[in-house]
């Protein structure tokens, strides 16, 4: 008998008392009911708590702010689908562009200082940004290897609580949920920011 048949047989045998699957009570909150300003305020509060740096800017100011944040980066990478208008304030000399059809090598990514991406959806209550590898966010490796991640969040993409956010995305895409810069609590359970993932996270909330 194959291991598969064996294990499924053991499990069926274990369930010979035929337990009934109970109904799932879903009376937990499905939405926060918060308005736009309150959502922004909460998201900022939570991200700052995680030691991320956050700016709330008008959409028209995004290029200028990105240019400021990249001022001391020797090089940066953007996914091929990133809004070109948002890079208007930058010279192209330091720029690398990555896509599935033309991916940078790991060694190249490792030598690049910063990465700029968009985002799929954010969760105000938990300070979480979800990347779903869409063209404006790129392959998962590009937002991981460079040490400084600049992430643009559109106000329209902020959900109040997790159930609202997960309803907006396709779970079968490669997903990364990011809540602040990389951190560890492994030494005496005290949180320390900055381990293997990007040690610096800048979030630009664009109105």
């Amino acid at each position: 008998m194959s291991a598969r048949e064996d294990i499924l047989g053991r499990i069926r045998s274990a369930l010979r008392d035929a337990p009934v699957a109970p109904p799932i009570p879903r009376d937990y909150r499905a939405a926060s009911g918060l308005g736009e300003e309150a959502l922004i305020e909460m998201l900022v509060d939570r991200l700052v708590d995680y030691k991320a740096q956050v700016s709330v800017v008008e959409a028209a100011e995004v290029p200028e702010r990105i240019a400021e944040l990249l001022a001391d980066a020797r090089s940066y990478v953007v996914p091929a689908g990133f809004d070109a208008g948002w890079l208007a304030g930058l010279d192209g000399g330091r720029r690398h562009v990555d896509s599935i059809s033309a991916p940078l090598s790991l060694a190249e990514l490792d030598s690049i200082d910063a990465v700029v991406t968009g985002s799929a959806v954010a969760v105000a209550e938990t300070g979480t940004i979800i990347l779903d590898a869409s063209p404006d966010q790129g392959r998962r490796a590009i937002s991981l290897v460079p040490d400084h991640h600049i992430c643009v969040v559109n106000v329209a993409d902020i959900a109040g609580i997790l159930p609202e956010a997960l309803r907006r995305i396709d779970g079968t895409r490669p997903l990364t949920m990011i809540s602040g810069p990389s951190a560890t609590s492994d030494i005496e359970l005290e949180r320390v920011e900055g381990v293997h993932g990007p040690r610096r996270l800048d979030v630009l909330i664009a109105r």
């Binding site: 047989g9 109970p22 009570p25 998962r140 490796a141 490669p174 492994d186 030494i187 900055g194 293997h196």
Partner: protein, 508 residues
Amino acid sequence: MSTFLGMPSLPVFGSGNLHATESFAKAARHELGNGQLRANLGHATHTIRDKRLKVVSELPDWEQLRDAGSAIKESVMARLPELLEQFEEKFTARGGVIHWARDADEANDIVTRLIRETGETEVVKVKSMATQEIGLNEYLEEQGISAFETDLAELIVQLDHDKPSHILVPAIHKNRTEIRDIFLREMPGADPALTDDPAMLAMAARAHLRRKFLNAKVAVSGANFALADSGTLAVVESEGNGRMCLTLPDTLITVMGVEKLLPTWQDLEVFMQLLPRSSTGERMNPYTSLWTGVTEGDGPQNVHLVLLDNGRSAALADEMGRSALHCIRCSACMNVCPVYERTGGHAYGSTYPGPIGAILSPLLTGIQSEENSSLPYASSLCGACFDACPVKINIPDILVHLRSVDVDSKRGMKKVPSQMDAGMKAASWALSSGKRLGLIEKGLPIGRLAAGPDKKITKLPGIAAGWTQSRDIPAPPAQSFRSWWAKEHRSPDVKEAPAPTQQKEDQA
């Protein structure tokens, strides 16, 4: 609906790092002798308790989320064969390859074979309880394959040639100075000027592992959740070592217990609210990665999943105990446990320590395996673990149930009645009649005599010695309640006093 057609089989128990090799009571005794360990644990568990309470109290619907989580898991167990088949179909359709492992040995063999097929002799690992349970690292080492732990705490434990003592923070028993010393001693190229500042220690780990991540061709991981309706796997982490392992190598091998399934994508919204707040006491953990089979051009192109039984089907067969399989490995139960806080995780022997380990380990291995029958007694039954459990596993009830399984399993094993048997028989004789009890209570003054002038009995004979091992018994009173009552109500003018014999009958 699936129907079981074959003969009902006997439970097949699990193997691997699931055993207490000496009884909990003995192991606890020498662990308690380590003052540094107790100080480290006390500090860490109290820090995390406060953080957990703070973030849990923020959610107005915490109890509703716990109810939903509990019902979802109960439903998973009831529908497990069907959900496993559904998951297999979806995961395979997306280019993933499923392997089934009956026990630890079979899982280790499968992982070794998959690594050999790549031609590699080094792998990076994301912290995983399942691979700890099956002893994968040790097995790979015997086969000439080096497995590098990349989670900071796992790295500390691995460098120190130690064993994990906590499921979330395996090095919880070490303080920062001890960790600095381990790094200086065991980490090649560690900066001699390294201090015990946690931020600096984390940076040392980053530098140590960076090359490994960038050059790794194969990664081995566990999984926190698997979604049956889409074939999606999830890993919840903090440091980014998980993302490195799950994203950069060509081959990804995940080892996961069969009970980790969730039926639908929607269920993730419940568990991703319950898990981070219960484990690290954060609103959300820094990173969660989800992948569904293979995505062309993004991440590993060879994606494997080893589905592990290793005693889970046996635990499932125990109707009272099966809800132990609802566990999402958050570690909230051990962080609030007064026993764990003092003894630490090593006293439990198994990969799974603390209250959940005290029920899960014997359920997976069978109560008679090695010293695991001692684990259900590693509790004062205070119930703090049940209150903290995000999926409402009634750990105290299962502890009591397993104690009865233990007693039943030993019944009739000895021809000569034990002291306990004799004691219980005597108690049954004495307590079933008021007259007999009254007679025995006349012996109380002898106990007073034994107590001596300090009015304490410090050592009882025989098996009763267990009771006085860590506490004294106060001297018995000069007279029993019965004799006091009888004296008080002897006066003939108190007519309403009940007749002594009648009262005795009532009490009996």
